[in-house]
Structures are given as structure tokens and as C-alpha cells.
Assembly symmetry: C2
Homo-oligomer: 395 residues x 2
DNA sequence: CATTAGCACTCTTGATGAAAGAGTGCTAAC
DNA sequence: GTTAGCACTCTTTCATCAAGAGTGCTAATG
């Protein structure tokens, strides 16, 4: 949609003023705040045109105008296409949070929660962040071990030192010999593969390759494969849901209750995440306004989302949810800054520093080992061949 | 506080009526609803007495009366001390949820979330549940393994098949020999001990016992010990926060925002959990009314908490948060029923059933292996001595 | 002496209406 | 094309008023 310059400037003025005040904005206000020297009457004529075009509307006769979804959309598109000066300001504003954010969290979970909080605090909107996908991450290491007679522990380490584990119940104890074979079998066949490459067919192949073919071994292999494939669980962390009370248009019982509920259940947010991941936006940032929202119950809101990447294809989504009259400029600025920081945080900046790159809890570390490339599983590196050297009697 | 029977009945009538309606209740209403045949004038006199005692109060002259915190307290104490008929009803009401709840979740995390939701749905209040403590649980199994040159993976299995893990960064690769020694060292020294028994002194002792004493090994042992000791992280799951909008006295912006915020941050809830765990209440159930709340910002609420136990000393807390005019009878009933079900769920009812007693995510299964007692670590059972039998060349 | 009927009094709630204010659309003038 | 002026509309605010609910007190009653 192309708009004459003057109309565009008036539209922007209406939007910007409404973003600030939340009140319908009248012609007199616009006449005073813009630098084009026009009287309120002229503005009124232009506004009548804009209303006819469906860009602004008035809640009732003789109230000021407020932007429609289409009006917001035009405003946002214009903003996104011209990298603005204001963005710089927003970034500076966030700089203070840097220390807060930059503290390396030893758990991915904690880190994500911290990012969510930072977003919420620095924007005064509700925020969310999804855990990164691991579908395209490669498997580094698999280990099965007998915990007790009836349980086998399977641990799988993925690129980025994410850990997945599971206790697999078994009918009878596996012999140590079979256990070793299983370990080697799984490591040689699966290490170096991406999670998404583990198919049912592949698993069947491995089962056939297993020299001894008991039902138990089959079970264990299935379970192990399931950890890798099936565990692709989307976790979503949220913060600042209470910020919706700052915006009267969202704060009535009905709406507030629905939004809070969506935030608690997190399921609705999941569909926003999916939507975002599946479609790349401008500058990596996407804006859903009102009816464009994937979630019906949030039609009174806008969402700004972005896809972050922790290297090695671990992608996730961050999002800001607020009223339609959201400060889009600021939010987009903050968003970009956060993404920069996430990037810097992950990149092995100072190689050789020793920091706990662990993961308890969800079992997840956020730093890969610094710099040096993982080498996929090769026999000589694993401990099994070297076992020869051990004399058990010593113990 | 001892109260003449008639006054007590009037107090109860006031409380009960106010719980239902949320409106101040007048003398005429009481006169009609109680079975003691008294005119409103008499009730008025009695109510004036009750007010003087500080059990009820009136919002303004010429409004009805509402209970004070002390009034609620008397009511609740009376209810808790006499096991009531109504409780039975509440339990029956919950029976429908049974199917929903009884589905064995393969993850502790999912199960806890499900319990929280059940509580919230069946009571129409906000609910929370804390993850069980593992302080007194015993360690079953420890395993260190070299993931790649610069990372050692430590996995620890605790009673109930809870799994803790961490990737420990190391300066240089450990020899397979040292790795084996470390494994045996840790297993022989720590298996069978309760988490809370792992002291700093014990760790120092183990370090001294390690034949080879390099800095790396010391680091690894420290890290392993830290997983066990330090990871005692209280996780809290919540549900139904939006239920507060059902109760006008909590639903104004100020209060709602605070409560929602507390529910999201979960920190405040943590102090309620601590408070509950440290003091056993009547029937295992505790009620905090208004000012009795450990959390200042929730002074307008009441909380009913209970301590659940998943066997083997894994204790946690469930809680219902609602307005002071909460349906205490129902809540206490539901609470007891949930506790029964949790108990039944954990108890190995049908031994021999094969169900996934796993844990991904937080790495946590909720069923111990069925029936048969764990045997703490013994050398012959572990795979290490048996390795002799393997011919590596075969591979 | 406990209970009750009656009554004046207080306070909230809801409805009504008037006045003020903000903003528009339209017309006519520049 | 722009602007001043004006009538009109609609919301918001405030005061007033009547109705209703509930109380406390007093006096009457069994």
C-alpha cells in the first residue's frame, strides 16, 4: 500500500501518540505535534480519508481516532524496512541489563528464564522464550549401564553438551558382555548423526545388526532411540505476565484471565513458537498484530517474535506479548540487542576459560567445548579398547 | 478459645454464608438459615457479642457481618478437629478426576504438573506443588565417562530412579585407567549413602584415598559431589492462577498483579513450601489464613497446604491458594483425596507390570523398581570386574 | 431474664439529569 | 488547497434522590 507522504506522516503521528497515551487522538493534537504546519481542520480532512482507507477508526462519533490493525501494520512495516535511529536508543537503554544477562548461567534452563525476565523488565510487556530445538544437533556420545537388576540407564549427550537420559526397565539383567556390545553398537551407528536423522528404519537396521537378538536388547534399543527422537520437547519460559495489568485494554477480568491462563498453560504460546520457526521474517523479526495472531484468544494483543540461534542449528524463539498499542520501535530494538547478546554469549569468545559448561536439571549445558571441533565417535578414542590395560585384581 | 454452643453455631452460619456469597451477611439471613428458632433481633444481639470478641466485623455501619481472620481460624480449627461428613462428599466429587490423575506419567515433571492442574480444576482455586526433596534418598549408582577430550560426563542415579547429571569440563583427557579407578572409588564410597550424608569432610577423605592425586581428579570429584549435594533445587509447578479472577476481592489490578507475579516467579511460593515442610500440621494439613501467610503480599489470601510423600522420604508440598473466604471443607477434602491417590500411585501396586519408569527432562522417574529392595552398590554386580571376559579384538 | 417487635438511623447502591469537555463534519471564506 | 467557525454528538463527571438493607436501641412479652 502506497500512501502520500503527508497522509503517512499523519498516520504515524496518530499511531505514535496512541501508543503513548492509549487514548483516542484528535485532530488538534496532531496539528500541534507534527512539524507540518497544518490546522486541525486540514488534519481532520486527511483523517477522514485515512479512516475511509481503513487505517484508523473512531471508537464513537466525536472521539479521536485510533489505529486499526491495518494501520498498525503499515506503521510497523515502514519501521522495519527503514532501520531506524530510534533502535539505537532502545539498544542503549538495554545496555544496563547487560551485566544481568551476561552472567554465564551454568544451566540452559536458568539462562533462558533469565533472558525472559530481562525482556519483560526492559520492555514492560510479557515475554516468553522457547528452549532451542535439537533436531539438527548431532549425537556425541551414548552410554548404557546397568543401574540395578531391573533397570538400565541410558544417557545420551548431544552437541552443545545437552544431556538426555532415561531409566529403562528390563525383565532380566543384561550380561556385561551384551551391555558392552550394545554400547559399541549404538555409538558406532548413531554418533555423529543428527537427531532428525534417526529414523525408524535405521533403528530396525541396528536391531538386525545386533549379534545377539533378544527381546530385551530390542527393547533397550527402542527406548534409547526414543530418547533421542521423541524427547524433542518444546519448553517455554515466561516472565512478566503481570505486565498486562499496565494496559487497561487488556486488564479487564475476561481478557486478563484468558491471557494469564494461556501463559500458564503455555500451550498457546507453543503455537506461536511453531509459527515463528516455520517462517522467517524481516531482519529475523516477526510482528503479529491483532487478528494476525495464531492464537485466537489473544486477538487483542500483538506479538513480536524473533528466532535466536545458539550455534550448531539450535534454534529457538523469543517473543514479546503486549497490547496492540505496543511500542514496536523499542521492542524491536530490545529484541535485536538480546539476540546479539545471546549470540555473543554462546560464541566461544575467550577460548580456554574454564567455566562449568554443565547441565543438571534438564541436563543441559549451553557452551560447547571451546573452539575445537567435536570429533564424532571413533573407536580408539573410547575407553573400551583401553580397558585391556587395566588389571582388575589391583582393586 | 471456647465459645457457647449457640454463638458457635451463629459464627459458623455467618462464615458459611459468607463463603458462598462473598457478601456481608445480616441477622435476618442467619435467623432464617439456622435451625435454632431465633428472631433476627436475638441474632443481632449475639452478633454484637461476636463482634466484640473480634470474630466478625462489619465493613461499614449497617452492613452485614463478615468473619475476621480470627473468625475463620476458629471455624477452620473446629472443622479440622472434627472429621466431617462433608469431607466424604468432597472426595466423591473428586472421584471423577481419578482417571485423569491416575494415568501413570512417565516423567515426574509431567505428573506433578498434572496434579497441580487437577487440584486447580477441582477446587477453582490456584494451586501449586513442589518437587519432592531428595535429601534423605540414597545414591544408587554413579558413573563418570569421557565424552570427548575436554568433557567428562557424570551421571548419578538416586533412589526412585531420579537422575542427576552434569558435564564437567577438564583441562586434559583422563586416562581410561584413572577413569575406571574414579568410578570405583566414587561408587564404593558414595553408593548407599543418603544425599544429605555427603559432607565436605567425606569428599576430602575420598580425594585423599584416590591413589593418583592430580588436580583434575580432585576437580571431578568436587563436581560430582556438587551434583549430589548442591542440586537440591526446589521446583514448583503451578496451575489455575487465573482462578483468582473468580473472586472479586482478589481481582482488582493491584492485588491480581501481585499474585500473578508471585505465581510466575515462584519464589514466594517457595517460602510457603519451606514453612510447610518444617512444621507438621493437623492431619498433615495446614491452613494459613490472611495475616498468618508467610508471604506478605498474599495477606488477602488463605493457603491450605499438605505434605505428600512419594515413599523413601521424598517429601514435597501441595498447596491451594485462594481468597480468605475459601471453601475450606471442600479444599481439605480434595487435598486428602489427592494425597491418597499420590500414595497409591507410588506404591508398587501391581508388581511385575512393565511400564516406562523413566525420566528424561528433569531426569526423573517416579516409580522405584517394583517391590524388590534396591541393593546398594556391591562390586560383583557392577560391570567392571566382568570386563575381563571381553575380547576386544572381536570388534 | 431471655426473647422479640418496632422504629429511627446510617450507609450503600442505582438511577437520573445537568453541565462540561472533547472532537467531529460541514460550510463558507481566504 | 487551507482554514475559521459553528452546530452537533457523545462521553465523563458530579450532584441529587429514592430505595433497600441492616443495625442498635428501647420497650413490650412470656
Amino acid at each position: 500500500m502506497e500512501l502520500p507522504d503527508r497522509k503517512m506522516r499523519i498516520l504515524k503521528a496518530v499511531v505514535r501518540n496512541y501508543l503513548e497515551t492509549g487514548e483516542p487522538v484528535g485532530s488538534r493534537t496532531i496539528s500541534k505535534m507534527t512539524d507540518l504546519k497544518l490546522s486541525s481542520a486540514t488534519i481532520r480532512n486527511e483523517m477522514a480519508d485515512l479512516e475511509e482507507m481503513g487505517l484508523i477508526t473512531q471508537p464513537h462519533t466525536s472521539a479521536g481516532r485510533i489505529p486499526t490493525d491495518a494501520g498498525y501494520r503499515l506503521y510497523v512495516d515502514d519501521m522495519l524496512s527503514s532501520e531506524k535511529q530510534e533502535l539505537q536508543d532502545a539498544r542503549k537503554e538495554l545496555l544496563d541489563m547487560k551485566d544481568f544477562l551476561l552472567k554465564k548461567q551454568d544451566k540452559l534452563e536458568t539462562m533462558l528464564q533469565s533472558v525472559a525476565r530481562t525482556l519483560a523488565v526492559s520492555t514492560n510487556y510479557a515475554s516468553m522464550i522457547s528452549s532451542p530445538t535439537t533436531r539438527s544437533s548431532k549425537i556425541k556420545f551414548i552410554q548404557l549401564s546397568q543401574v540395578d537388576r531391573h533397570n538400565v540407564l541410558a544417557v545420551i549427550v548431544i552437541e552443545g553438551n545437552l544431556i538426555r537420559n532415561k531409566v529403562i526397565p528390563v525383565e532380566e539383567e543384561l550380561s556385561a558382555e551384551n551391555m558392552l556390545k550394545l554400547n559399541m553398537l549404538l555409538n558406532t551407528n548413531l554418533c555423529g548423526l543428527a537427531v532428525e536423522e534417526i529414523t525408524l528404519g535405521l533403528i530396525e537396521g541396528i536391531k538386525r545388526n545386533a549379534g545377539i537378538h533378544t527381546a530385551i536388547i530390542s527393547d533397550v534399543i527402542d527406548a534409547a532411540a526414543e530418547i533421542v527422537r521423541g524427547e524433542e520437547e518444546l519448553k517455554i519460559y515466561t516472565s512478566g505476565a503481570n505486565n498486562i495489568f499496565r494496559y487497561p485494554e487488556l486488564a479487564d477480568h475476561q481478557r486478563a484471565s484468558e491471557i494469564i491462563s494461556d501463559f500458564e498453560e503455555k500451550q498457546a504460546l507453543g503455537s506461536i513458537v511453531q509459527e515463528t520457526l516455520s517462517s522467517e521474517g524481516q531482519n529475523g523479526i516477526q510482528v503479529y498484530i491483532g487478528d494476525e495472531m495464531p492464537v485466537a484468544r489473544m486477538r487483542d494483543c500483538s506479538v513480536v517474535t524473533a528466532t535466536y540461534e545458539l550455534g550448531e542449528g539450535m534454534k529457538g524463539t523469543i517473543g514479546i506479548i503486549g497490547p496492540k498499542r505496543m511500542d514496536y520501535d523499542k521492542v524491536v530494538g530490545v529484541m535485536k540487542e538480546i539476540m546479539n547478546q545471546l549470540d555473543a554469549l554462546y560464541r566461544p569468545a575467550e577460548a580456554g576459560t574454564k567455566d562449568p559448561a554443565d547441565g543438571g536439571g534438564t541436563g543441559t549445558g549451553i557452551r560447547a567445548e571451546s573452539g575445537k571441533p567435536d570429533q564424532p565417535f571413533t573407536l580408539p578414542d573410547l575407553r573400551i579398547p583401553q580397558i585391556k590395560r587395566i588389571e582388575i585384581k589391583e582393586l
